[in-house]
Symmetry: C2
Amino acid sequence: MTSTEAPTADNGVNVDFLLSAREALAAQPEGAQFKWRVSNTWVNGTHSQSTVNGFFGLGEEQNHRAEFTFDGDHPELFSSEDQGATPVELLLASLAGCLTAGVAAVAQNRDIQLKAVTATLEGDMDVRGILGVDPEVRNGFNQIRVTYNIDADASPEDIKALVAQSQKRSAVFDIVTNPTNVIVEVA
Amino acid sequence: MTSTEAPTADNGVNVDFLLSAREALAAQPEGAQFKWRVSNTWVNGTHSQSTVNGFFGLGEEQNHRAEFTFDGDHPELFSSEDQGATPVELLLASLAGCLTAGVAAVAQNRDIQLKAVTATLEGDMDVRGILGVDPEVRNGFNQIRVTYNIDADASPEDIKALVAQSQKRSAVFDIVTNPTNVIVEVA
């Protein structure tokens, strides 16, 4: 017999694992110290390629199942060759991926079955900043808007709460909304 | 006869165009208001796919030469399927692409011939933040280190100055090191 208390949602997230990882890393904080890495190689002009492969976590070197590569470039509008997304679009993709993974994980934890989740992101930029026209204009985005469309077995209030909790636990949302220390050196 | 004053470096960046764009957008700031966009679709579990296509700039809708897609996921270590880079690795790729494009553009402007540019990026994260173990631990990176290896027709001091100027004009460096307003809504 199935208990009415048993979770029925299956969003493909192993919440039991995440809860046990939380417990294990609370007891062994040194295992929680991760290092995420990218290597980048200039191709030509504003075009470069980034490669993601290994990372460090749970006390040892780890590998992805496969190597992931990302081309970055500027568009033809800026007299570049448009061989890849612009770096700021890649940043929006990073934010989107983080928030959406969070939505799925939180939904699983709350036993909410997701049917479809899409998001559109838009970042406003005054390019007079990066072109050095006006020192009062920042280089980055003035604002980023993220709009979710979520079809799920839940009330509109519960869906809003899902998205709010995802923001609260999102690594990239934190990095973008708060200052992060970046040290750039030449070897 | 070639003047000794004529630029000789060719890094594939059209600096004349960028300088004329700077002038044109100083006179017409409304053309400098860009909107960069990404759409994101949840696949399963922590796996989602982001798509980059059009953007708004120079007063009208623009398109990339091609559509760019990026898969984001969590690694097997977190009991996910590792169908793509983690969102925080994508963020490092974004930062790398922005700084390297800047190095090439600044080198062109200073008539420095680049031969090879590579960078390694590493971000430290205490995953007790995203797992909700300790509210004192932030979700994002504690620090990001970027190390450039640059082979160019220039002194070590000039190469360091290139990288410093690239940081100063980088959109993503600004977004990561300073707070950026992000509004998340449910449609």
